[in-house]
Every structure is written in structure tokens, then in C-alpha cells.
């Protein structure tokens, strides 16, 4: 036994040999290491301590630098650690410190050893044990070993650790002082309020100490405390300014600057001094100081924008710095300077800059432009046409990867800002028509938005035929199925628009030919239409078509071609006074072009009707079903007699008109609280399985109904409407039982599927399928809401008619991206209240507002102190003055909650099975929100608490 031990010791490779071996790399490194570990596994079992410890040492090395697993050696580490010789003990401690955690089974075995070493007379052993405890300490170890640590803190053991620490604050030994301040700095970071009573001690250190390390830590503590106690801030501001003027150490100077800018920003003179010092940092050659200077500016930007504006030149110059960090920081600052007047200019500069920069920074730039511009509901944007073209431009930047954000914003502004739609449709057309863009997967989502906008607002399109070709181009097969489905849906919309325009055309001709009936379209009917497109003014014509179609002489087959040319000519005349955007397109609504259009659609969508993706398949079949229906009756009237034809055409044009009406209804955002105002009908069990409905609905005849969609996208809804329409209008259309059941279900419980307010309003034009009472109620409420929100924002943004959204929402980035899928009016009555509160000040976010009130209270408190010598009155005033702040936070809080609700609604809109899941998720989310608010609340509270703490005034004031 002894022999082998000697052999092992003699021939064992120590750490140096191991390192040499790795470095020589005669064999592959990983192979060498695994061999070495095998060797270690053998050696570590040795009874010989030197051999064992050498093996452990090697293992620690391999674990730390080469990622080797050393959990198998846990017990051996404990053994080595308990060696009486310091050298081995150290190796053992090193291994334990490095590898142990709460999950290590043998961790409790070391308690006694730690206790022994903590009581050791050798200071280095004590230090080893302490270091080990600080790194791996868990509850058990802490409980068992606290007495030993306390013994170390003082010769006579004190049970209360805190008190012991505090006593050490007055230590004259600089090392102890710096250690104890370090501890308090850590503690303050977690819960600053508890340490307010220690302010006098910290203040003493701040004034007396000459040690920069110590001062930095104390400043960090005061940065936390000063925000809680304004009187403390007043007290420390002067010494800090003194440091700023005197100190040579940049680190201390920067810490002073940061403290002033983040926590003492209400002291004008201090801030000014700090900004001067920041300026010195900015012009310094050292990139570190430059970077920190920019960072300091971004701390102060929300409160004192002038500081940034003063250094504007420098910030812009830094944008082309070689250092990525500096570039990023200056970009952030630049965005903080954006306002209504300069947004176009800054964006122009940045876009040009993005074109030249590397992909990463390019996307940083695009991302910050996008997020800045959409802040507070496009607060800074005045000219939305410009913004639409800017979005289009961004897409064309080669490195652009901001698909999701741009997609969201395109849809968002299309929904919210009516005036931008013509320009936006034009931008989208340019995007769709470019086959090159289809090759870039990052842009597919933008194309999806573009396709949706083009379909939804096709009436603004200058040339729908061209649009159709773009939507059906072969390269669309590069798109994801979900996006392709959007394309198909847009094709549907464009097709219906074209067919409708074509029919109108014929009406116009015929009415001109006969008795000008079309011109006498009742205005009241038109007024009902919420859509604002001008060419719908004549869309009522088909209603009267039945009369004059019968004596319309144009339906002779051979003259058709000639006639259509004639029609074209007439159209030009009749449209000369119509809106310019539509006239171009309408020129070409000839018979041939329509036939051609139908052919293209059938050709392109034919294969898609057998697509594996259900969305595409369903939508393609919808379109094809529609073309089948219309085409035979309108476009191929050859085989039919005159009478038949007239009737058929009437039928067709009625279908087309209905479809067109369905699509022309504007899809509006939905109020977040709309769902709550719908009374729940008796006996409705939302959690019940949908399968049970079969028995309920089985015997009910399927009536005409407008239905509400399960799908979360507005597009899906349109599909459903069209589908049921088709079913009801045309009996030959196959009607699947399951579909009808579903439709019936939706009809009955339609209110629980989120639909846009406007289309609900529209559904009243159809045979009333829904409970009229609740429907009306909902509508009224929604309209009230709309009025209210419009009013509240009217003075701010007259020309744009943008609808407001709560300020809060901009804080949670992910939430905004959710909104992209189902654009909603993120507003409720509460935001109106907040707007009212903020009335007269142009859109200052509530957070900065509350800051202002805080400042105010701080200042007035200061004044009071002067006059009343810290009487009780001051303390009593504190909570009163805090009131506005609390109001603000509470309203912010409830807005968050209502947002959560809105999301929960969406959850209900999904399939039954998903419902529960979603609900839970939402719950968790909202809990999360509430948690945040709690934290917020806590941060707000301290002032009151402080007012009750008499400790500070005694010492400090």
C-alpha cells in the first residue's frame, strides 16, 4: 500500500505538468483533458494527502478554465479541506468555494470545519473560511455559523449583526470602514428605506473621509437615500458640489455627477455644475470619459433636456465615433431630443446614416426611430404622409430587419389615422409590386401588412389591376403560409372592389341612358356608410338597378366589346368630377379587364385551394367560390336570355354589393373595456364545451346572419362575413353542417367574440341576428368612448384625427407588438381622466409630470423648513403634498389592469380549449403587473414613512 502511494507521489503529474501538457498539444486538447480527468479520478481516491490534493488542484483548474465537471469530487474536497496543513487546506477550500452550491449533497458536512477554521488563530485560515462562506453560504450554514462570524466582528460577541456593523461605521481603520460601507452599499441597493436612520453616520464619512473608494460607495448610498428624503438631499448637495469642484479623481467626479443627475436633479446649481463637468468628459480624448459623459447626459435627458441640447453638436458628432458603445449612446440621446418640429430632420439624418452603417447599428437606428416615432401614439408626428413614406424608405434599406415593428406601425397608423390612408396605400403598393422584397424573409411581415392595407383600403389604390398582379405574383410562394393567407384575403377584397366598380360603371351608363336614377341616390343611405371613400357615393346605384336593367338595351353579345370601350369613354367623363385617386383605376374597368382579372385570380388561386395550410385553402376557396358565382352570371351572359340575364345580373350585383358593403365597413380599434359593458345573458356558460351546442342548435334553422370571427385578425372576420353571406344568398353554395353550427353559435354568442365596434354597427344593417339590446348598448358605449377620446385629444392633434392611447402602454414594449395583431383602441375612460388632469400641458407623460410635482413638494418643503424650524406642521404637510403623485400612480395602475383585462378578452375569443390556458397566462401577467405596481407604490411611500422617523432631523438638521 505504502509502495503504491510512493509510486503515485513520485510519478504523479502536478498542476504544472498538466498545464504544460495542455500547452504542448501533442494530442487533441479535449482528449488530453478527458485522459487527465481519468487520471485524476484514480488519484483522488488515494489515501495519501499530497496525491489527493494535487489531483484536486488539477481538477479545480480544469473545471474553472476548461469546464470540466468536478461534482464527483465533492467529498474529496471536504477531506482535503479538513487537512491541518494550510497548503492543502487552501486547495480544499478553493475547490469547495468553486464547486459547491445548495444542491451539493455534502455541503452540510463542512459546517463544523468552517466553524473550526473561523475560530482559528491563523488569520489566513479564518479568511479562507470566510471567503468560502461568503460564496457558498446558504440558510443552514448562515444559521449555524453566524455566532462565529459575530465573534470575528468584535471581541465581545454581539448578537445583533446590524448593530455590530453600525458600530464599525465609526471605525478608524480605513480597511474596516471601506468594507462596512461596501456592505451597506449592497444593502441600500436592495431596500434603501431601512437605512435612512444611518444617514448621519454616512454623512460624517462623506465629509471626513479622504478615501475615494469609500466616498464613491457613500455617494452611491446617498444617491438612493436622497430620493427618499428631500431634506437629506438638501444637506448633501453642497458637499457633493464641493467634491465636483475639487477632486482630481475622475471616478469620484463621475460618481458625483451621476448622483447629482439621478438623485439631486431639482437643485439647479448642482445640476448646472454637473453638466459643466459632463462637458469636460465629453471633450476629453479618453473614450471612456466620452462614453460616461454621454451616459450621464442620458440620465439627465428626461428631466433637463436643455443639458442634452446644449451638447447637441457633440452628440451628433459621436454618432460616427469608432466605438459602438459611444454610437449607441449618442443615438439614444439623439432620439431623446426628437420633437414635433425636428423629427423629420433627425430621421432624415439617421436614415442616411443607417444606409452607410453596419447591419447591427443600422437596425439599432431603425429601431430607435420607430420606437421614438410611435411613442405616445405618434405624438411627435404631424405629417403622417411623410411618416408613411419614411416607413417605406426604411423597408428599402438593405440591412433592415425591423419587420415586426414596421408591420405593426403600418397597420396601426392605417387604422388610427384616416388621412394617411391614400399615401399609405401608395407606399404599400410600391412595396408589394417589388419582387425583390419578397426575397428577404425579414421583410415578409411588412409585406403582410402592406397586403392587408392595400386590400382593406383598396379604394385609394390608383390601379387595382396592377395591385392584383402584385398580390398574385409567382414569387409570393416564398412567403409563409400565414402571410400568404393575408395576400389571398386582400386579393378577395380587391376583386370585389373591382367587380363592384365595374358594375357601378354599367349602372352609370345605363342610368345615363335611361333616366338618371343613379344620380338621385338618397343621401341618407350614404350617410349611414362609415367609409369615407368618395366613389362609394355612387355605390347605392345597384339598389335601383332592378328597375332599369330590364329595359337596358346593352346586353347583346356581339356589341359587348364596343360598348365597353364606349363605357370607358363615358366613365372618363363621368368621373372627371369624382375623386382623382379612384378615377385612374376606374378608367380601366372594362369588360375585358374584368374578365382578365377573374382569369388571373382563378389561375393563381386554383392551386392554392388545395394548399396544405387551412388558412390559405379556406380563403382561396372563398375567393374561387365567389368568382364562380359572379363570373357565370355577369361575365358570360352568352347562353342566357335577356330576361334571365337581367335577373341573374341583378342577383350578382346584389351579391357584389353586399360583399362590397361588408368589406367597406371600416375596421376600427376596440376599446379595452368594451367587453365589460356587455351584460352576460342568463344561462351562458363560457367554460362549457362547445360540442354541447350541437344539441342546442340542431333544430334551429340557420338564419341570415352576420357573424363574428373567432380569428383574432380583422381579416378573418371579413372572411366569415362573406362566407355566411354567400351561404344565405345562394342556396346552391354547399353549406356544411359544422360551419352552420359554428355560425349559429357565433350568432348566439357573437358578443363574446371580439369584433371591431364599427363592424358591429354595420351588422345592424343586416337582418338583426344579435340580441338588439346589448348590441345597441355596446354601440352606444363605444361611440361615447370614441367621442370622449376624440375630444380629449382634439386640441392636440386636430389635423391628424389620431385616436389616443394611454400613455402607459408605451412602457411595455412587448404589449405593443401584441397590439399589432389586433389593433385596438388602447384607451378607456380612465385615460380621458388622465388627459383631463393633464389638460393644458401638451402631452407631457404622466411620469415626468409626477416628477414635477415631487420637485415642487421638495422645494416647498425646503421653504417651510426655513420659516417654521422643522415644526410638526412640515411633517403633516408631506403626505398632503404628495397627493397628486399618488393620484397619478393609481390611475396608471388601474390602466395597467384594464389592459390586462383586454388581453383576457382576447383569450376568450380563442378556441374553448385554449381558453383556460390563456386565462391563466393572463392572470399571471396581470399579477406580474400588479407586482410591479406594488414596487412602485413602495417607492412612493417612503416619504410618508420618513416623515414619521424622527432620527434624521435630530442628527442632520
Amino acid at each position: 500500500m505504502a509502495g503504491t502511494s510512493i509510486m503515485e507521489t513520485l510519478f504523479q503529474r502536478d498542476l504544472d505538468d498538466l498545464i504544460k501538457g495542455i500547452r504542448q498539444q501533442q494530442i487533441k486538447e479535449s482528449l488530453f483533458i478527458s485522459k487527465a480527468i481519468e487520471e485524476i479520478r484514480r488519484e483522488i481516491k488515494s489515501t495519501d494527502l499530497p496525491t489527493k490534493s494535487a489531483a484536486l488542484r488539477k481538477l479545480s483548474y480544469l473545471s474553472s478554465l476548461h469546464g470540466a465537471d468536478m461534482s464527483f469530487a465533492a467529498f474529496h474536497a471536504v477531506e482535503v479541506m479538513s487537512s491541518p496543513q494550510f497548503f492543502y487546506k487552501k486547495i480544499g477550500y478553493h475547490a469547495v468555494t468553486q464547486s459547491f452550491n445548495d444542491d451539493t449533497p455534502v455541503i452540510l458536512l463542512i459546517t463544523n470545519q468552517l466553524r473550526k477554521d473561523l475560530n482559528s488563530s491563523n488569520q489566513f485560515e479564518v479568511s479562507l473560511a470566510l471567503e468560502c462562506l461568503s460564496r457558498i453560504g446558504n440558510v443552514d450554514l448562515a444559521r449555524d455559523l453566524t455566532p462565529e462570524v459575530f465573534t470575528l466582528l468584535s471581541s465581545n460577541a454581539v448578537r445583533v449583526c446590524f448593530k455590530r456593523l453600525v458600530e464599525n461605521l465609526e471605525s478608524s481603520e480605513p480597511v474596516i470602514l471601506s468594507a462596512v460601507v461596501g456592505v451597506f452599499c449592497e444593502l441600500c441597493l436592495k431596500d434603501p428605506r431601512s437605512y435612512l436612520p444611518l444617514a448621519p453616520e454616512f454623512y460624517k464619512i462623506l465629509v471626513d473621509s479622504k478615501n475615494n473608494w469609500l466616498l464613491i460607495k457613500v455617494l452611491k448610498i446617498f444617491a438612493k437615500l436622497a430620493t427618499l428624503e428631500p431634506r437629506l438631499a438638501k444637506r448633501v448637495v453642497e458637499p457633493i458640489c464641493e467634491f465636483m469642484r475639487r477632486t482630481e479623481a475622475k471616478s469620484l467626479l463621475f460618481e458625483c455627477i451621476r448622483t447629482v443627475l439621478s438623485s439631486l436633479s431639482e437643485y439647479e446649481s448642482a445640476v448646472k455644475l454637473a453638466v459643466v463637468k459632463v462637458r469636460e468628459f465629453l471633450v476629453d480624448d479618453d473614450p471612456n470619459l466620452k462614453y460616461l459623459g454621454l451616459q450621464a447626459l442620458s440620465i439627465i435627458a428626461p428631466k433637463h433636456l436643455w443639458a442634452v441640447l446644449e451638447n447637441k453638436d457633440f452628440v451628433i458628432k459621436s454618432l460616427s465615433d469608432g466605438d459602438y458603445n459611444i454610437k449607441l449612446e449618442s443615438l439614444r440621446l439623439l432620439m431623446s431630443m426628437v420633437s414635433e418640429s425636428n423629427v423629420a430632420e433627425i430621421s432624415r439624418v439617421l436614415i442616411n446614416y443607417a444606409l452607410k452603417s453596419d447591419p447591427e447599428f443600422c437596425n439599432q437606428i431603425l429601431g430607435s426611430i420607430l420606437s421614438t416615432c410611435c411613442r405616445n401614439l405618434y405624438e411627435v408626428i404631424v405629417d403622417f404622409d411623410w411618416y408613411a413614406s419614411l416607413l417605406g424608405e426604411m423597408v428599402r434599406i438593405p440591412h433592415c430587419q425591423k419587420g415586426e415593428e414596421i408591420e405593426h406601425q403600418i397597420i396601426d397608423i392605417a387604422m388610427r389615422v384616416k388621412d394617411v390612408r391614400p399615401a399609405l396605400v401608395h407606399v404599400c403598393r410600391n412595396l408589394l409590386i417589388d419582387p425583390a422584397l419578397l426575397g428577404n424573409p425579414f421583410l415578409h411581415r411588412i409585406l403582410s401588412a402592406a397586403a392587408w392595407v392595400s386590400g382593406e383600403y383598396v379604394e385609394f389604390s390608383r390601379n387595382p389591376f396592377e395591385l392584383m398582379e402584385a398580390l398574385l405574383q409567382p414569387r409570393t410562394n416564398l412567403l409563409l403560409p400565414s402571410i400568404r393567407a393575408v395576400y389571398v384575403q386582400s386579393v378577395f377584397k380587391v376583386l370585389i372592389f373591382c367587380a363592384h366598380s365595374y358594375l357601378l360603371h354599367k349602372e352609370n351608363i345605363s342610368s345615363v341612358n335611361t333616366d338618371n336614377l343613379a344620380s338621385e341616390v338618397p343621401e341618407s343611405v350614404f350617410a349611414r356608410m362609415s367609409c369615407e371613400n368618395s366613389d362609394l357615393a355612387t355605390s347605392e346605384a345597384p339598389a335601383s338597378s332592378e328597375q332599369h336593367d330590364s329595359f337596358n338595351p346593352r346586353n347583346i353579345n356581339q356589341s359587348f366589346g364596343d360598348l365597353s370601350i364606349e363605357n370607358g369613354g363615358d366613365a372618363t367623363v363621368s368621373n372627371s368630377q369624382a375623386s382623382t385617386s379612384a378615377s385612374l383605376g376606374r378608367n380601366s374597368f372594362t369588360h375585358e379587364s374584368i374578365v382578365n382579372l377573374f382569369n388571373i385570380v382563378e389561375l393563381a388561386l386554383g392551386p392554392l385551394s388545395r394548399s396544405h395550410d387551412v388558412e390559405i385553402q379556406e380563403r382561396a376557396r372563398n375567393v374561387l367560390g365567389f368568382t364562380d358565382l359572379i363570373e357565370q352570371e355577369i361575365l358570360n351572359p352568352v347562353v342566357q336570355g335577356e330576361e334571365n340575364l337581367a335577373r341573374a345580373e341583378t342577383e350578382a350585383s346584389r351579391v357584389v354589393k353586399l360583399m362590397c358593403d361588408a368589406f367597406s365597413e371600416e375596421l376600427g380599434p376596440v376599446s379595452t373595456s368594451a367587453q365589460d359593458r356587455v351584460p352576460v345573458p342568463d344561462g351562458l356558460l363560457l367554460k362549457e364545451n362547445l360540442a354541447d351546442l350541437e344539441t342546442i342548435c340542431g333544430d334551429i334553422q340557420l338564419p341570415l346572419s352576420s357573424s363574428f370571427s373567432l380569428s383574432s385578425t380583422p381579416l378573418g372576420e371579413a372572411v366569415d362575413i362573406s362566407r355566411t353571406n354567400l351561404q344565405s344568398k345562394d342556396e346552391t353554395e354547399p353549406s356544411h353542417e359544422s360551419t352552420s353550427l359554428l355560425a349559429e353559435h357565433r350568432k348566439r354568442h357573437g358578443l363574446y367574440y371580439l369584433a371591431s365596434e364599427k363592424s358591429e354597427g354595420a351588422s345592424n344593417d343586416y337582418p338583426p341576428a344579435n340580441d338588439p339590446m346589448s348590441q345597441d348598448k355596446l354601440n352606444d358605449d363605444a361611440e361615447d368612448l370614441l367621442k370622449l377620446t376624440e375630444q380629449s385629444l382634439a386640441p392636440k392633434k386636430k389635423p391628424n384625427q389620431a385616436k389616443p392611447r394611454p400613455v402607459v402602454l408605451k412602457l411595455d414594449g412587448d404589449e405593443i407588438s401584441v397590439a399589432a395583431k389586433k389593433p385596438e383602441l388602447k384607451d378607456d375612460l380612465l385615460s380621458g381622466v388622465v388627459q383631463d388632469v393633464l389638460l393644458g400641458n401638451d402631452g407631457v407623460p404622466s411620469s415626468s409630470r409626477s416628477n414635477r410635482s415631487e420637485n415642487l413638494s421638495g422645494k416647498s418643503k425646503g421653504k417651510e423648513k426655513l420659516s417654521t424650524d422643522l415644526s410638526l406642521e412640515t411633517k403633516e404637510n408631506v403626505p398632503g403634498e404628495k397627493m397628486p403623485d399618488h393620484v397619478n400612480t393609481s390611475s396608471r395602475r388601474s390602466k395597467h389592469r384594464s389592459h390586462g383585462k383586454e388581453r383576457r378578452q382576447k383569450g376568450q375569443g380563442k378556441d374553448g380549449e385554449e381558453k383556460e390556458d390563456n386565462g391563466q397566462k393572463e392572470k399571471r401577467k396581470s399579477n406580474h403587473h400588479r407586482g410591479k405596481h406594488k414596487a412602485h407604490q413602495r417607492a412612493d411611500e417612503p416619504l410618508n414613512v420618513v416623515a414619521q422617523t424622527p432620527v434624521i432631523p435630530d442628527f442632520l438638521l
Binding site: 502536478d14 498542476l15 504544472d16 498545464i19 500547452r23 488542484r57 483548474y61 473545471s63 474553472s64 478554465l65 469546464g67 470540466a68 465537471d69 468536478m70 494550510f86 497548503f87 487552501k90 486547495i91 478553493h94 459547491f100 452550491n101 491563523n122 489566513f124 479568511s127 470566510l130 471567503e131 461568503s134 460564496r135 457558498i136 480597511v175 471601506s178 468594507a179 461596501g182 456592505v183 452599499c185 449592497e186 441597493l189 475615494n212 473608494w213 464613491i216 460607495k217 452611491k220 475622475k250 471616478s251 463621475f254 460618481e255 479618453d286 473614450p287 471612456n288 466620452k290 462614453y291 460616461l292 469608432g322 466605438d323 459602438y324 458603445n325 459611444i326 449607441l328
Partner: protein, 171 residues
């Protein structure tokens, strides 16, 4: 507090890795790799600060210094001052230089344990304990008296860049 101290060479080979919060070994290796991924892309004349939020979580900052063939990296949270950390790196390297007489990468490779001893004297459980290199050296010498001196740190005259003295290159 200081979250981690790393020393790695310009090829990304770690020479020292100390984490003051427990991290599983795999995670340690991953962190070292991602830090190197950030550092190797940076030019010499740029700032010494890197936004490390994506690697170490929000609020953490990274300061590094490049000496000859080595990167010295400190990762810390908001309770430390960036410039002070930069100074601390300097203190650490100066201490190494005094201990090893013109320290080079090879010294650091072969004196793994001593490196840890020195670092432990400066940083204790993530807190800065001692910033005077003289005090540190004194303590380190005391400690090595307690140990049987196995191999005196002979700077093996290897070829290659790793024998370049760190501090001479910097100054």
C-alpha cells in the same frame, strides 16, 4: 458587487475565471465565450466599457482592459463605479507585475493558484477589500510562507507572444 473576474488571452483561452455568484460550469464556459465574442471585435482605441446586459442580465456592466496578449475583465453591478473598476484592474495587474517581475501571460498560465491568492486578497466575496498593491503583496508573501514551496515560479522562457510583459506593453 463584483460578479465575476475573468482573464483570457486574445485567442479566447481563459486564464482565470472567478464567479462570485455560483454558476454551473457549463454556464461559466458559455459566459466566457460570449464575453470573448464581444471583446475580440473591439478595436484598441475604443472605450473600456461594454454593455453586458444581454450576457449577464440587466444592470450589469463590464469593464475590460487589454494588456499585451491578455484581456482582464471585471463584471459588476450598479453598486460599483466604472472608473474605479478600471483602476482596480490596473491595481490587479500592477500587483501581478510586482509579484512576478515583469509579468507575462506565461506567468499567469503557470501560477494559477498564486493568481487566485492575489485576487482573493483584493476582492473578497465580490467586495473590494484592498486596493494597495503593497498590502496585497505583503499578505500573499505571508500566505506562501505557510505553504511548502513546491516550485518557485520560474518564468519558462517560452517563445511566442505570451512572454511579452504585460505592463511594458501598456505603458
Amino acid at each position: 458587487m463584483i460578479k465575476s473576474v475573468m482573464v483570457m488571452n486574445t485567442q479566447g483561452k481563459p486564464r482565470l475565471a472567478k464567479f462570485y455568484d455560483f454558476q454551473p460550469v457549463e454556464k461559466q464556459q458559455e459566459l466566457i465565450r460570449s464575453v470573448f465574442g464581444v471583446l475580440c471585435g473591439r478595436a484598441d482605441n475604443v472605450s473600456n466599457f461594454v454593455e453586458a446586459d444581454s450576457i449577464f442580465g440587466p444592470g450589469t456592466r463590464l469593464v475590460y482592459k487589454h494588456f499585451a496578449t491578455l484581456y482582464f475583465v471585471f463584471i459588476f453591478d450598479s453598486s460599483e463605479n466604472e472608473l474605479a473598476m478600471l483602476d482596480l484592474i490596473q491595481v490587479f495587474v500592477e500587483t501581478l507585475d510586482k509579484c512576478f517581475k515583469n509579468v507575462c501571460e506565461l506567468d499567469i498560465v503557470y501560477n494559477y493558484s498564486k493568481l487566485h491568492t492575489i485576487l482573493d486578497e483584493i476582492i473578497f466575496g465580490g467586495q473590494v477589500l484592498e486596493t494597495s498593491s503593497i498590502e496585497v503583496i505583503k499578505a500573499v508573501e505571508e500566505i506562501s510562507k505557510c505553504s511548502p514551496s513546491l516550485s518557485p515560479s520560474t518564468c519558462l522562457s517560452f517563445f511566442g507572444p505570451s512572454t511579452r510583459p504585460l505592463l511594458l506593453c501598456y505603458n
